[in-house]
């Protein structure tokens, strides 16, 4: 294999054998992580999971106890100012400096010795991109939280970084503002094509912004993949609880025909459109939103939903506007989310028998490793 080709194929940002220890306690232990050029990678996890430490290490703001960080395949360190200047960051609090919005946004450019006239052009352009066109001369100290955070984003984007760090940028916002800003940030990040690491503890936020998601727990990367797989097919109890669903079922593919895989999970047969060779051990999951419930014994019309079987209601709890129903059949547990209207119509209560229906396209599946 050609060495130069290997370098070209390397991810934009990656790290190997990372370990960070504070006073003998290991807070980050990540053998390998890589971000492809232009992608937004969301790092999810509870507080104290090591997300922010990993971000600081990848962003050359902190030296790891062990391991190294590579940009485009070349090792870089916290002392390397040129490498550091390819990075920009937005943190929880905007930490705006005294002065105008324009001064703040131009700060990084000034550090890099750019001329005032050039700075003004770049600042004007980036403020427009974050929806604050013409705000250059306002005082940075009179802004609302959402405005200040958009200025902080502009201050990072104006540097045209090759690697952008976002450390819980919306965690201090109201839910309402958070929702709208996360959409805004997602659109801006998608438009900039910048490789971004987005740390958050909020999966809704992660799903809105991310091309790929990694989940951290106690310093380790316990899951990684596209948002659908990570949030839709949790391999263990912890991750399932973390994303708010039942753990994935374990099964074995017993047949494949007509584009459908037939999976046996502890006596329940599930059909999926995901194609896996017969005999493979797989993880299977259905999002609660995709499961429809009917009164037990009802005659179901012929339809496109390939999966239907009776189950017993184990637990019922309201969640947001809908009702989360945990179902059990032969030791297999899964969940359905139904509207409050439907729940009261069906008289959903623990112990009741229902028919669960879901389409084969709604079944997520991957081979267990």
């Amino acid at each position: 294999m050609n060495a130069s080709l290997a370098v070209v194929a390397a991810p934009a940002v990656c790290a190997e054998d990372l370990r960070v220890t504070y006073r003998g306690r290991t807070v980050v232990d990540v053998p390998s992580i890589g971000l492809a050029s232009g992608e937004t990678y969301a790092l999810l996890g509870a507080s104290g999971a090591g997300k922010s430490t990993l971000l600081r290490v990848l962003g050359l703001l902190e030296r790891p106890t062990h391991g190294r960080v590579l940009f485009d395949g070349s090792p870089v360190g916290a002392g390397d100012l040129a490498a550091r200047r390819r990075i920009a960051a937005v943190f929880q609090k905007p930490y705006l400096l005294r002065g105008t919005v324009g001064d703040n946004v131009a700060y990084g450019l000034r550090l890099r010795g750019m001329k005032a006239s050039q700075r003004a052009v770049r600042v004007a352009a980036v403020l427009e991109r974050v929806g604050l066109a013409g705000w250059q001369d306002r005082s940075a100290l009179t802004l609302s939280g959402g405005e200040a955070q958009r200025v902080a984003l502009a201050r990072a984007l104006v540097l045209e970084p090759t690697f952008l760090l976002l450390d819980e940028p919306l965690s201090y916002m109201d839910p309402l503002l958070k929702r709208s800003l996360s959409l805004e940030f997602a659109a801006i990040l998608a438009g900039e094509h910048v490789t971004s690491l987005y740390v958050t503890h909020d999966q809704d936020e992660a799903v809105v912004v991310a091309d790929r998601i990694g989940v951290m727990r106690e310093g380790r990367l316990v899951a990684e993949g596209d948002p659908d797989t990570v949030l839709g097919l949790p391999p263990d109890e912890w991750l399932a609880a973390f994303v708010g669903m039942e753990p994935s079922l374990r099964g074995r593919v017993t047949a494949v025909l007509d584009g459908l895989s037939e999976v046996e999970c502890d006596g329940v047969t599930i059909y999926s459109t995901v194609q896996v060779p017969v005999g493979t051990s797989v993880l299977v999951a259905v999002r609660p939103e995709d499961v429809t419930l009917y009164v037990a014994g009802a005659l179901l019309p012929v339809g496109s939903a390939r999966n239907h079987f009776e189950a017993t209601v184990a637990e019922v709890r309201p969640q947001g506007g809908s009702v989360h129903v945990t179902l059990e059949r032969a030791g297999v547990r899964f969940a359905a989310a139904v509207s409050r209207a439907a729940a009261s119509e069906l008289g959903i209560a623990p112990g009741q028998r229902v028919i669960a229906v879901f389409k084969a396209t709604a079944v997520r599946m991957r081979s267990e490793n």
């Binding site: 600081r56 962003g59 703001l61 100012l81 550091r84 200047r85 990075i87 920009a88 960051a89 943190f91 929880q92 609090k93 905007p94 930490y95 705006l96 400096l97 005294r98 700060y107 990084g108 550090l111 890099r112 100290l141 939280g145 200040a148 201050r155 990072a156 540097l159 760090l165």
Partner: protein, 234 residues
């Protein structure tokens, strides 16, 4: 209350007439404490800056050392400086005892730890995350330090004012090493002690009012600098 009224009238008369030793003593006080503050700032500010910025093993001990130095009673500092400058002392050859220079030395020793200590606190109060943010925007070590300095300038000003305010009204050290020699080492505080005991209330009051004025202005400035306080919450 007559005694106060009379003394204040006399004091104003003395201050306005500009005659005698009233103004020269004030001038010497300001010169001695001013130079001592300058030197103490030159020493204490870099130390405080370093202690406030860095994280290293032994930093805690150094801060404790500075705090301990802040706690030395002025008369004890005066005693040690006197002994150093006395004929048999290690610096006896310089023949500085009972000169303004001796008073500056004693006041530098009193003020420098104060400047260093307050500066340390001011610099350390700049949140670590703000410094992280500066670094993450591409600030070099030097640029980061400069910005931290700008952010904590109120605290650094407070350090200098606290140093000056502390030594201008100090009497123990200066009276020991200066000796209160008229026309040479008599400053406001030693002059007040000397003249009160001689019953010269008007003269003592003249310096007392000036000293009080300086102390209250310094105090007001410190209060203001503290209250305008931190805005890092946003």
């Amino acid at each position: 209350m007559h005694v106060y009224v009379q003394a204040i009238i006399d004091a104003f008369a003395l201050l306005l007439s500009g005659s005698g030793e009233v103004w020269p003593v004030i001038g010497l006080s300001l010169a001695v404490s001013g130079s001592a503050t300058l030197i103490a700032t030159a020493i204490g500010l870099p130390i405080g800056y370093f202690l406030g910025m860095s994280r290293f093993a032994g930093r805690g001990s150094l801060i404790l050392l500075v705090n301990t130095a802040m706690g030395w009673p002025p008369v004890v500092v005066g005693l040690f400086v006197y002994m150093a400058l006395s004929r048999t002392g290690p610096l006896g050859d310089l023949a500085l005892l009972f000169t303004p220079q001796a008073m500056v030395i004693a006041q530098v020793i009193l003020a420098a730890p104060l400047v260093a200590g307050v500066t340390t606190a001011a610099i350390a109060s700049v949140p670590r995350d703000l410094r992280l943010q500066l670094r993450a925007l591409g600030a070099s070590r030097f640029q980061e330090a400069f910005e931290v300095f700008k952010e904590s300038r109120r605290g650094v000003m407070a350090a200098v004012i606290a140093g000056f305010g502390g030594i201008i009204s100090e009497v123990g050290a200066v009276s020991i090493v200066g000796g209160n020699i008229q026309g040479s080492t008599r400053v406001m505080t030693t002059a007040i002690v000397f003249n009160v005991n001689r019953g010269e209330f008007g003269l003592a009051m003249a310096w007392g009012m000036v000293l009080l004025g300086i102390a209250l202005v310094a105090n007001a400035a410190l209060t203001m600098l503290q209250q305008s306080g931190t805005r890092y919450e946003r």
